[in-house]
Symmetry: C2
Subunit: 190 residues, 2 copies
């Protein structure tokens, strides 16, 4: 392995470990020293990759947020309104299910959301794009509230520690079904 | 006014002020001194009523939580399943709407939920009772997830700072409508 590959693999192990410790102790309750101890490296080795805990928090969330941007782009590129809605809903649910631990952290720790708000153009931008995809840009109060309930509800339910016993495929299928019901869409033809 | 009435009114002003400061600065970012300053009293006067910030947090949330218990009791006492569901849903939405500021605080500050978990029999008990009222005690995965999405979604949407422009009556009506759609219930006859 080259030095670059070693550094990359340490960085990746560091992020996995950080997410686990954040989930157990909260971001607030996790120190760089704890991350170093858990990895069996020195605090200097952690500093080599990240200068602050905020940088680690952002890096932990970054892959999922980049995927979310891709999902929104792909959904917007669909030809029909129906396909846009289906794509945005299924993509969002799939993201929540695959990144359950991260979503749970989001739900329970406002510090994570604040850290992310600083890097990305913020949650507001994401919400506006989702709103436009799911109910159109000129949605009324009722449609706006439906999207609020949908996004918050699916993320909270998907990331809930009460639902860790549900396997990925079942969780994905059921949440998409609930989302379709909320949006008043019938089941897709199979 | 008797001394007792003065104390009661100070206590009540203290809780209103605490909720406002908690909403602005978070529970973590609010000190007993800040509450005293805002009220124009000494820190000793605050200590007369509450020894710790946790006691204040519990007292701020207590009236809404007591109402929630009453709603669950009243819903359970309804004769038909349909009436139980309607009562539980409408009661929950009404509570969220009337206590929006508190709900927003719940949503953004896990410290509040932890403080409350200690006094009441906890959020778990509330969730089980709601589950049993809305979808029955032997609900399958799909029904359990629906209730998760419903409770989290309605609370987050109702307490969201994005929705402060929606008046109470409209918000109440729309959220009940969304809840009924989620539960697969038709509109009630008018």
């Amino acid at each position: 392995m080259s030095a670059g590959t070693v550094a990359e693999s340490t960085r990746s192990r560091l992020l996995t470990t950080a997410l686990r410790l954040f989930s157990e102790h909260g971001v607030e309750g996790t120190s760089l020293q704890m991350i170093a101890d858990e990895l069996g490296v020195t605090k200097a080795a952690v500093y080599y990759h990240f200068k602050t805990k905020d940088e680690i928090t952002e890096a932990v969330a970054q892959p999922a947020l980049a995927e979310l941007e891709d999902i929104l782009d792909a959904a917007a590129a669909q030809r029909t309104r129906g396909a846009q809605i289906d794509h945005a809903l299924a993509g969002f649910v799939d993201l929540v299910v695959r990144h359950r631990a991260l979503v749970a952290l989001f739900n329970s720790d406002p510090g994570v959301v604040r850290a992310i708000d600083r890097t990305l153009q913020g949650a507001e931008n994401f919400k506006l794009r989702m709103l436009s995809l799911l109910v159109g840009p000129d949605a009324d109060t009722s449609a706006r509230l439906t999207v609020d309930v949908l996004l918050a509800g699916l993320a909270l339910a998907g990331g809930s520690p009460d639902n860790t016993d549900i396997d990925d495929d079942t969780l994905r299928e059921r949440l998409i079904e609930i989302g379709r019901r909320l949006l008043g869409r019938r089941r897709p033809r199979s």
